[in-house]
Every structure is written in C-alpha cells, then in structure tokens.
Amino acid sequence: MSTFNFPESIRSRPVYGTLQAQVGKSHLMIADAHGAEAVLEMAAKEPAMMAQSHIIYIPKGMQFGLQIQALKPAQYYEGPSYAAAVSRIKRVLSDAAMGLQIYLSGTEGLIGQAQYEVMQAGFDYTAIQTEHRGSVARRMQCVHCKGITEDVMIDPFQCSHCGLNLFVRDHYSRRLAAFQGVCIDAEEPGNVPPSVELYS
C-alpha cells in the first residue's frame, strides 16, 4: 500500500487529502512514482473526465505509465524528472482557462514544487487537490547555504551542497516547496547522532 498516515504536526506542515474528481472544463494531473495510483483510482470512479485530462507523470522507476496511458487521457506526457517536466508544466499553466481543475499526487517534493508553479500561475493553493502517495522522502532546504537536497530519507542528513549535518524540521515553506534543515552540531561540532529513517 502506498499511503502513509502522517502524524499530527505543526501548522506550517502541509496536509494532503484524497484526489476527488471536480466539476470542470478540463483537468490537469501531475504525479510522480506511486502518485499514479491516486490518478488511477480517481479515473476508475470518474472515467469520463479522461477525455478532458492532461496527465504529466514522472515515473521515478515505477511502472505505471502503460496503465495511465490506457485511461486514454486527452494528453499524456512522461518525463524523466521533475526538472525536465517543469517547463512543460509552466507552459500548460500559462494557457489555463477558467474551469481548469488541478490534481497533484505522489511525493511531497513533487506536490510542493508543482503547487508552487500553480500558485505562480495565479491559482489559490487551497483550490488544488493533493494526495500523498509513496515515499515519505522530503525535499529539504539547508537554512545555512540555501541549497536544496532532494529525497531526504534520514534524519540527520548531510547537506548535498555545503556538507553540514542537518536535522529535519517539520517547518515548511510553500514558496521554496521545502522543509527546513538546520545544523545539528552547531553547539558541539562533531557531535552528530546516528541517522535514523524518517518516521522510523
């Protein structure tokens, strides 16, 4: 099962729902990895929406591509990474007309970054459907060097840019689409506890 119940946390931490088809003229779905399952489940309940749907999918090694194509969406794109897909996402959003419904599913990094683009295009983030699926890995910003480390699974972790040992906070910025990482051994340099898996 690709769903995970996040424990209750602080007010800046995003919360996710379950994708539900909305009444709309057209539908844009952006998903990565196990996020495909959320799209498939929504489509199973509301197959008619596919004729007006544009699906952008980043497999991250998962094998859901053929199943999604079998839904016969009006447009389908499969990208090798979010970075590769983002210019297309921007282009699609620049054409967005009233009545477009937006659905994001998969990892927090995908949901957060796509939500940022959607907000930049003028949508209210509360009007977007989101569903977390799959990995609980986080996209982390190092508060010190500002570098982003993708897919962080352990706490503490090493910043992929400056090399500091960072602990994983639940404090989250929508603008950066990232959680905050803060130096864990600032007060006693070298005193870094062993890393543990997130939510372990």
Partner: protein
C-alpha cells in the same frame, strides 16, 4: 535629551555595553515572578519619560553601531531583506511613518521637509542628507522599506492583510531570535509561528491574530517578548547558527554574569494608511545578567522565572543546557523576599538584597 552614541560591536570582540541610563530604561519583561505565554498587548501611545515606550520608534545609545552591524549583515547576506512585488506601496507607507515619527519625536536628530512629493530627509547621527520624490522608487538608493529600515533600529516585518489573515510578505531581519525571513516570507500568521510550542494549544495565536487584524490607523499596539542570548550578538540568525551556536558552550560559572544576556523584544504594531498593511517592528534590547541583577527586584525575579519556566519553553528559547549554570548565578541574587507587581525596577522602594547566611 542628548544621546551619546556608543562606538561598539555586536560580534567578534563584543565591545557592546549598556550605560547606566540604558540599564535604568531596560524593558524588563516579567511583571510577576513567573512566565507563561500571553497575548499581553497594550496601546503604544507613549509611556513614562525616557522609557523605551515614550517614542514611537525609540532611538538609543546603540543606534549608530546597530545600523553599522545591519549594514554588515546585509552585505554578507542580501536575502535578509526581501519584499514581494505587491509590497512596495507598504514600503512607502512605512518610510513615511518612520520619517514623520522620528522627525517629530527627535527634532534634534532627524528632519523631514516636505514640498508636495519632493521630500528632504536629514539623518544627523548617520550623516544622511537625501532629497527624493515620495512614491518614486527610482529616486532612492534602495527600495523604500530597505532605505528607511537601514536607518531604524529593530527588525521589521511588513504584513499584508487578506483572507482574514496576515501574510509575512516583506521584511528586513538582521537582529532576529533565530528565525529566517528567507524561509518564512510568504507565510501566514499561523504558519510562521508554527514552530512555537504550547502557544497554539493555548489559543494564543488565534486571539493575537484577531487583535492584530483590527488595529486601526493612529492606534498602534505593543507587547514584549524575550529570549536568551550568549554574548551581545544581534544577528542570532538560523542562517549563521553553525557559526554562532558554539558560543553557547563558552559560558562558565566565572563568566556567566558578563556573557549571558537577556534578550528582550519590544514588538509594536502599526496600521499603514495606503496599503492597509500592518508593520511589525521587533526591537531588540540586550542586557547582561550582571547588569540585570544590579536592580534588586529584577535579580530576584529573573531567578524565579528561569527556575520555574516549563522545560519546553526553556528548550525552545535555547537555554535548557545552560539553565543550571544560570540558576547557580541567579540564586545568589534571590534572598526570597517578595517582589512588587509590575516590570519597573522600583529602585526606591524595593529592599536591597540581604546577605545570605547559607
């Protein structure tokens, strides 16, 4: 009043010091012998003569040196000053509020001459003499918010008001108690306060927001907040925490009185007229434990507050590890006598510290 501006540093050799006048007017934040979060708002319409509450924007002996420190922080990290594109009007509102207030409250230090949109601003302590066109960004060397807050003590958060919430959409933050403007910019009131323990559960933020949303022009409000800092370091930013964090370990029983500072924030809130934004200056006052205990009442009370504060708060405020050492020091200044209610030192009526027999 003639202010002698100190030539001092808030980093490296830490030559910062408080004069007797600064000690006497320190905004001691504890009105009773214990502490818990509260909304604790009051009107910001002046206060006792020479207190930090008297003027709209208090200017004190640290002014010139604090502005020099801000300049250094901004040169190292320009992300400490940011303004989302829709906040420029609020920046002009803020510039006007500060220039008008300072020129009225400190006419010997600041002058503002207005001829329609042509303004002439003179800041004598900083040696600034600029003419510009009000509301024309091209006539200032920085954006309006940055221009005026490089000349005003305290951090500034400029909050947009919409959807029954406040949004941290602009600010200049170089003297902060360990929070990042760059990370928090664009967040709403509940989000940027998310990491604060206990207060959400107590409904503090809901009530505070309700109050702040209703602040009217000409009716500013204020409150105090506090934390602890080792050394008189203004820039306790998360950005530089990996550099300054280690200083917390430099406290010893011998040097604690000089090195341990109570850090008090005088937070004020002003409605801005054109943008309907709310400006939230956070002014930092630092005082060493040694100077605090020179007031008998403050010494007794600080000991009791630090001793009894819940562990979550001591952890959040970053002094849990040094608390035992702080208490060893402070207990020498607490003879158990009752203290009078309120924040003022009551130097004339409070009994002197009695010799301890133990």
């Amino acid at each position: 009043m003639n202010i002698q501006f100190n030539d001092e540093t808030f980093r490296d050799d830490y030559s910062f010091k408080n004069s007797q006048r600064a000690i006497d007017r320190f905004p001691f934040p504890f009105h009773e012998d214990s502490y818990m979060y509260s909304v604790n708002m009051e009107q910001h319409q002046g206060g006792p003569v020479d207190s930090v509450y008297e003027k709209r924007f208090d200017v004190d002996e640290h002014y010139v040196s604090e502005m020099r420190d801000r300049e250094m922080v901004l040169a190292d990290d320009p992300l400490r000053c940011q303004s989302l594109p829709h906040m420029t009007l609020a920046g002009w509102d803020l510039l006007e509020l500060i220039m008008v207030s300072k020129s009225e409250d400190y006419p010997e230090l600041f002058e503002l001459h207005r001829d329609g949109a042509n303004w002439h601003w003179i800041n004598k302590p900083l040696g600034i003499n600029d003419r510009f066109v009000f509301m024309d960004d091209t006539t200032l060397p920085y954006g309006p918010m940055e221009y005026i807050t490089r000349q005003t003590q305290g951090d500034f958060c400029v909050l947009d008001q919409r959807e029954e919430n406040l949004w941290m959409d602009a600010g200049i933050v170089t003297t902060q108690a360990d929070w990042s403007l760059d990370f928090d910019i664009g967040m709403n009131f509940f989000e940027w306060h998310a990491p604060v323990p206990l207060a959400h559960e107590k409904g503090i933020f809901k009530r505070a927001l309700k109050f702040l949303l209703n602040i009217q022009q000409g009716a500013p409000a204020r409150r105090l907040n506090w934390t602890m800092t080792v050394n008189p370091l203004l820039d306790t930013s998360p950005e530089n925490y990996h550099k300054w964090g280690v200083q917390k370990m430099s406290v010893t029983p011998q040097n604690l009185g000089e090195k341990q500072y109570l850090r008090v924030e005088l937070q004020t809130f002003f409605r801005l007229p054109r943008s309907n934004a709310l400006v939230f200056p956070i002014r930092c006052y630092l005082m060493s434990f040694k100077d605090i205990v020179s007031k008998a009442k403050w010494g007794r009370r600080l000991h009791r507050v630090v001793r009894d504060i819940p562990e979550e708060l001591a952890t959040y405020k970053g002094f849990i590890d040094n608390r035992p050492m702080m208490l060893d020091f402070l207990s020498r200044y607490d003879d158990g006598l009752a203290t009078s209610f309120g924040v003022w030192p009551d130097s004339d009526t409070e009994p002197a510290l009695s010799e301890r027999t133990t």
